[in-house]
Symmetry: C2
Subunit: 204 residues, 2 copies
Amino acid sequence: MIRLYRDEVPTKVDHEERRRQIAEAVIRIAASRGLHAASMREVAAEAGVSLRLVQYYFHTKQELLAWVLAHLGEQLGRRMTRAAAERGAPASPRAFLYAALTALLPTDEESRRIVLAYTAHFTLTLTDPGQEAGLSYANALRDLLAERFAQAGANGDPGTRAATALALVSGLQLAVLAGQYTGEEAVALLTRHLDEAFAAPGAG
Amino acid sequence: MIRLYRDEVPTKVDHEERRRQIAEAVIRIAASRGLHAASMREVAAEAGVSLRLVQYYFHTKQELLAWVLAHLGEQLGRRMTRAAAERGAPASPRAFLYAALTALLPTDEESRRIVLAYTAHFTLTLTDPGQEAGLSYANALRDLLAERFAQAGANGDPGTRAATALALVSGLQLAVLAGQYTGEEAVALLTRHLDEAFAAPGAG
DNA sequence: CTCGTCACGATACAGCCGTATCATCGCGCC
DNA sequence: GGCGCGATGATACGGCTGTATCGTGACGAG
């Protein structure tokens, strides 16, 4: 028969919220003990729920990890746009670039957790077939940045600028996570690189 | 019969060679199916030996992984110096920088395997306590490159140059491994970045 | 009241994991 | 010829893994 519940999906608890709660547990484990330590049982314990619940909201572990990955991407995107918005609305293309790229660096505890978990996921999928979803996302981000580089009047080819900047950010993320640099040092390194991209020719 | 082996230690087989054989199996597995797939049994099968043998030459799995990591570092170092030597001996500081940094990018099947396995290892140790060994190595490499940047007369602070270049290489490695760029594209990106570091001020 | 279904608990299952134990072979040495 | 020992095979053990099954309160619908 046709569902005639109030007017919504027939759920008494907020599934999305539960999933978020469990996903956060995965992220916490991945950031502290590594993604390989995130077994279904560990995740359940960390989230304060039973193993059955994790199975209930994510039928399989693969589904759980995929959801977590999407959740992480969302959070990273929000961080970028929020940081850009804080530079004044609407931010100039150049200010946007500084803000957005800096927002990707692990500078505080939260961003460190996010980037660490994201990196672990990323590395795992490196050997899995067909991860083109993340690829197109990365390319879209690069194209967006390239547009901003062009608008901001950066030297050289905007596409090259964007690709180089993103790769640099990616490398700096790892360096900070490994403890080679502090978040501030990485920001300084990135800032200097961007400054160079905008340096007036002849202003050695 | 004549002793073809060491006359010092009473070993009939070359332990180092056996270890190398097993380590290569780990690298092959890590590059194709991921480091998490490299169980002791899988490694034994891939190396064509029995499980007992892997245990015999590496008392524990942790010992095996540590050995593999050292092996990978060695191979990467050899690739760098070899590439530098091919640019003429002794290579100019600037040529050395181009060669050494390019050698770190996954441009062929072998380097792809090495970098992929190295990345997997690196990511795993990100959440392990006390991995300062790799850190001091990274710092030493950066200082060496900084020296070359200074000798080659690069613009700006040599330390910043070296740190930025290394982080960029690291990011490009990931991008190539993920399939975002080809090895050649990454080399081009890196080359352009280095060109900029050496561009005469005012040569916009 | 009955019933279906959502939400969840307890527990079982087969399989793989790293590691340990025991039993041999091959071979130089006394 | 026996012995010691390095090198290796076969196999067992406890533990953890992801997943599946069965059961059961709560609660709105008919």
